[in-house]
Assembly symmetry: D2
Homo-oligomer: 377 residues x 4
């Protein structure tokens, strides 16, 4: 089969590789129809991770089931399915508690596995013609009859829509509340959609890229341009000096300060300042325990300075971590099916699988208008 393979920093290509296949009775095999390039793929692309060469990338996948193992009861050949980027077993302590992003058996001794991802187990990704799906009855979300026509919406159920929602859940965004989201990339935009779904009354999204700020407005949220003035102050001004009720971090460890320097703590500390006392902050931008190319020694170990005194004095709380996609994807699927949600509206480019390397390049350059890329193998 053909698949997008990682060969080193900024070197990816679509190669012929051995077909994915059923390996265990609980597996399913899926022919991919849509697979996205994710912002977190760029961490690997840029060589900021230890992902091994030869790995097939791609963790935002949907497609058609073409074969199932003998222990698979629910998922049927012919089903259109969307796959959470997390690979869970379904029966460990964490999976049972719904914490499928931290499965204890699919990538030991770490908690959490994913398709085509650094440090997340031996699983190949779905930027390919075929994908092996472990524990298919647990992991595959079956889509309704409009699966193909709303492909750009449903494929977002694999990661960014649940991840954006997770940010608002970690922050416990409530109805009638205000929320500030740092970062207007795909996850930040999905967090804005999610905050609206939860009945927030004011939704601020901070960024500095004009195309992204335009999308914020298009989604009905309030863009805050931090190149035009201190973003924290803008949020305080819009909330009678009090701060937003809740906050979401959707940038991650490659955050940059307003001078353009990489500064991993800047978004977290801005959120502590911009969120009101007793507020909660949900962190879904990716932070990593080891980052050998980080700007300083502490950051290489994933450590940076937090305004902890202020955090405590304000009595804030913070939840973090990758989304447990399965906690949200059924419900979000229903809302897409009923035309209540249209996450696919942020897709800027649809490419053939063979154009994948080109897609990585443009997306990594953050070229104007390259918001979200969907590949169709």
């Amino acid at each position: 089969m053909r698949a997008l393979v990682y060969h080193g920093p900024r070197k990816v290509s679509v190669d012929e590789v051995p077909d994915a296949k059923i390996e265990k009775p609980t597996d399913a095999l899926v022919r991919i129809t849509a697979t996205n390039i994710c912002g977190s793929d760029l961490h690997m692309y840029e060589g900021r991770t230890d992902v091994e060469q030869g790995k097939v990338l791609g963790h935002e996948n949907m497609g058609e089931v073409i074969e199932v193992g003998s222990g698979v009861d629910r998922v049927k050949v012919g089903d259109m399915v969307c796959l959470p980027f997390n690979i869970g077993c379904g029966f460990c302590k964490n999976c049972e508690a719904g914490l499928t992003g931290f499965c204890l058996t699919t990538n030991p001794p770490n908690a959490g596995a994913a398709y085509g991802y650094a440090s997340m187990g031996p699983y190949n990704g779905g930027q390919a013609e075929l994908l092996r799906v472990p524990y298919a009855d647990w992991n595959a979300l079956v889509l309704p009859e409009d699966a193909r026509e709303k492909q750009n919406d449903y494929v977002m159920l694999s990661d960014i829509l649940p991840t954006g929602y997770h940010g608002t859940e970690l922050a416990q965004v409530g109805f009638g509340e205000s929320v500030v989201i740092w970062g207007a990339g795909p996850v930040g935009l999905m967090a804005a959609l999610s905050a609206d779904l939860r009945g927030a009354d004011q939704i601020f999204v901070v960024d500095r890229q004009p195309d992204r700020l335009r999308l914020v407005s298009k989604l009905g949220a309030t863009p805050i341009d931090d190149s035009a003035g201190d973003a924290v102050q803008q949020v305080l001004d819009a909330t009678r000096g009090e701060g937003a009720d809740k906050g979401v971090e959707a940038v991650g460890y490659q955050a940059h300060d307003t001078r353009g320097e990489e500064a991993p703590g800047v978004t977290i500390n801005n959120l502590i300042a911009a969120v009101r006392p007793t507020g909660r902050i949900g962190v879904v931008g990716v932070f990593v325990p080891q980052d050998p190319q980080a700007p300083d020694d502490a950051a290489k170990e994933g450590q940076f300075g937090i305004d902890f005194g202020t955090f405590f004095f304000k009595g804030q709380a913070m939840g973090t971590g990758q989304a447990n996609v399965k906690q949200y994807n059924r419900q979000l699927r229903n809302l897409i099916h009923r035309d209540r949600l249209h996450p696919g509206q942020i897709v800027s480019h649809e490419l053939n699988l063979d154009q994948a390397a080109e897609g990585y390049e443009h997306f990594d350059d953050r070229e104007d208008g390259w918001t979200k890329v969907v590949l169709h193998p």
Copy 2:
């Protein structure tokens, strides 16, 4: 009346001061019968805060109501009451939500007021013969008929018992779960009692002072002596390498590392390491936004290095802040009344008010056996 007055670093004395009195229709006046010295009083005593000279200290208070304002309906003259250290109004957005530690009207523009405390408003403390209690119907907890005989238990409802409980609530300690508590001072010990009340199955408490470690054992929890080996490793070893399900920080910004150096981030980073993926950490040890005598410039602004990459990778959450005492004190009062809880068992010394200065000195020296001091004016 006589009262313990702050006159500068390590200078306190019991002086004659003007009587506390009713100032508003919603006030009550309480004759203090028991008032504790708190570990956080020592921050002020040592000159680590900006508390003003002349302030009467004391925020852990109980006593008898001797007068009420014309707008007080519930609390009656003659009632024995315990006062939460927080002073709330009862009607702001935070008080209504139960977040009485972050009242928006009693100490504007800050969120949160307290008796006799730095940065917590103009209110005098209760290490005195009399105490003015604002919004008495909201703030005073009326005690049952055994109030005087169980004085050492009930007085703990003012702060340390609810604060310890708050740590376990922020951490969401559940039944059948393990928890590690950093710090075996009064708050850490109350957190251990609280974790037991919530049905935890393993309760580890980390400290290095022998008298405190003995109290941990006495309460039925498992002491971990971090002078005898890496505490994080000890917790991992006791939990099959996985880490405790939940963690509580009960030390605060004056934490010291194992070499005896002040190191404000050490307990937080140890907790991140010792708590399992997806675990929660409740922080009730006090951290401050400004600490002019801190060991380095960042710490002077309440900032220090956090292992944020690990925190995120493990998908942990953290809740912080002073306890909203009113959320817990009714229920804990009931349990004391039914002899289910005996928080007073940690009291080591009962002194007259006139011995207060001496009490501060011994307690601040952390002399062996000076665990908790109650003053009886």
Copy 3:
């Protein structure tokens, strides 16, 4: 002052009565600018309660503060305020827990007080020029600067909007879920708005009155006409035979079966049948412990047959009771202020206070198009 007074079954008139006035330091006095006739007023109007003759009715009130007692700190003369129909003290066990509909001190020995309402304490209502508001700092919601121009929206914060929301809260309506609401009166319609606010994906509302079913469609929900076929079956058919995820009862004890007979259990049993296993049902239609004019002896004592075997077998849960308005009114106020919610769109008639008796008559006759009446004194 002039006020709508109850003189016996179907006898109400606007009379001259003594002015409402400040009676305690914690009171405020409000000049009413808008006050609704509620469906539950009709229970009293029809003589189905033991409300005393001479009582001023009206529990859905808003207006301008014209005087405050000496113990009132937050509410100021000149503030536009909306009053929850519940009267709470703010300091009893229930009020502290947010259960302000069940205050233990304002109507002892019962739990819960209200303005101008049978069995709810000695308080006069607000279908009058002036209203005394007890515990004003606790009970009065201060409105923003657009209070007068959006009067028809904000006045709904006194009862029906929070009550509708409470139905969805008791039922724990979640995002991406389906919900069936029994009754398309004002409360049922507000429940539909609330379910949408919570992100429900299918919202069914059952009724048989054409004007109400049209309003259901106007609000974007799905009307189910139970005069056109079994409503339970219609819900099952629309949910692949499974039943709605959640249900809300918005009719109450004067429910009628499809033959037009009064049948107090019919809506509850229909909900048990129409909601899926493990679903929750929120009951905000009013049921009463004594109903001397009920169709049978059991119903006179508020008892009727429930399909409890099915309820248990399906593992359903049910929450009941009048709304604790204060738990929701701040947040809903914010959403009205931001133009996110328009509850006033269901108002069909605005009358002068002097037309109140006429309003009662038309509304009680359930004349076509008399959906919601607002009086302006």
Copy 4:
């Protein structure tokens, strides 16, 4: 193999039947070491259900895994396991949400399957030498190394301990709260243990059988003998007239009134009367939709009169249904392992499998002292 087989009302015998065996790749085969007779087995034994003749009974099972299917990854041959009485698939909407008692795929079109139980699917029970366990990785709880020595404790994890806990969870029993439990059978006693684990301060258990009331005292709870006076009044008297904060129903549809007449609604209505306004009631006693031998026509359809007016007026809530055992059994297992819980203390008789019929007879006669029977095949 030998197994206890149902042959009609009050006719059970231990017969030779075909061996249970692996039927699907996700099955495990367990050699039973302990299996209880449950109060709900008596419903079948007495002919009050439609259970088919020839069925092997027994849903409270533990034992040793002797074989696993090719799709089983977690459970290993040699593991000692306890099986929840519920059989879930692990991947339906309900199982995913933790509602494993209402699995949508193991007993369609009903929600919920169980071993050896009327209306709960084609699965044989475990009062036998061998048991087939479907979806073993999902359903089997692996026990620690003390499994055999604490067999009487661990076997209670199959049903009555989680069921008792579920009652307190449905009722949301909180720390410092009072709770009244109706019924001091095994489930009621486990509810009392669970309420204590949750930090309740007063735990009342109502019954009239002296042996059961003695056990209540032994567990540290307060027995209420309803043959010695109105139980509701006794609860009110013990709670200053207010009622218990929470209630649990642990009797079910074969409840009897104080005159000894079967009266299915009596416990529910007593609970509504004995629980305070805003209280919650958890119903874990079994109620059934069809009961052909019930005392009246309504009850034959599972319907009976509920004091719904009072229920609503008091703003109470009620949760029902069989326990989702998997939500609690891990945590409770940990507590047994740590010697914090000893549910096995209520075992009155341990019999060989061959004595099973005799055990049914004595237990069904409710002979004094026959509290709980464990069979050891």
